[in-house]
Each structure stands twice: as C-alpha cells, then as structure tokens.
Amino acid sequence: MTTTHERIQQLVDANEVLLFMKGTADYPQCGFSMRAVSVLRALGVPFRDVNVLQDPEIREGIKAFSNWPTIPQLYVKQQFVGGSDIMMEMYENGELETLVAGIAHQA
C-alpha cells in the first residue's frame, strides 16, 4: 500500500513544474490558486496541476510534506518554491523565470 507521503513524492519526482491547488488550472476554486495559475501561464511554462479538493489525503498530507500550512504550493524541479505570495514576488523580480528557464515552453 502506498502512503500519502509516497504518492506526493511520486508526483514531485514525475513533474518538473507541479502546482498543488484548489480546483484545476482551468477552474481554480480559490483566489490564491487562481493567482498561482496566472503566474505560471504568464511565464508560459507547462505544469501539472493537482486539485487537492478532489483528494483529502493529499490536501492534508502536502502541508506536512512541505512544512507549509496553505494551498497553493509550487514545486519546480523537485524543490519546494512556496505559495502564491512568494510566486508573485519571484515573478515580479524575475527569479521565477530564471528558475523555470530551460523547461520547454508551451506553444
């Protein structure tokens, strides 16, 4: 049996850019998650979205996994980046673009 921690680790390992969020990229169900999606779309970087509202185990498990109490949460290249406030700051100062540089851009 796979534990929640292992399921999260598999998602992190399998996706270069991974966003745990409320709702989906097309239908965010929280303003903070919507902002996180907007940042990634502005960068034009492909990403995998995980809707924690569909998965209560991941919704709770990701908070312990990242030592971070809120959703959304962004992982890039297997590293935890932060939540929507940090994403906005890193987008505005160019750090996020640097971080995702080299990851194939969406058409």
Binding site: F32, W68, P69, T70, F80, V81, G82, D85, I86, E89
Partner: protein, 81 residues
Amino acid sequence: MFSAERIRAILEAQLPDCTAIVRDDLQDGEHFDAEVTSSAFVGLPKVRQHQLVYGALGAHMRSDIHALALKTFTPDDWKRR
C-alpha cells in the same frame, strides 16, 4: 474569529527584532494581510522566512486564520523597500 492585533502580538513576541504590520481589510476575522520584518530572516530564502512566520503562528494557521497574505523583510529589506 481572530484579530490582526493578536497576530501582530504573537509575531512580535515570537520572532527576534520583529515589527509586524497586520491588516484585516475584510474585517471578517479570517483573512489577513501581513508585512513582517525580523532579523531572523537575514540570509534565508523567502520560503524559509515564510516558514518561520507560519511556525510562530503554529496551530492558529490551521484553525483560526483562513488566509494570510504575507510579505517578509529583513531589517535592511524594509529600509530599502
């Protein structure tokens, strides 16, 4: 229900050389906005700075506080902002 004043008091008590400006523009006792300055943030990446704030708030982050929009500053960052 929680208050901006309680969040400010907790952060300033828990973090070294801390000044916290906390607002609750919606006045719903659940959504807050905080600008937090502390010497504990010096040399740490943003993600660690925010983790220190969340750690100081502890269980309140999981219960009373529904949303906290957060900006963190080292004392030098704050002067230069």
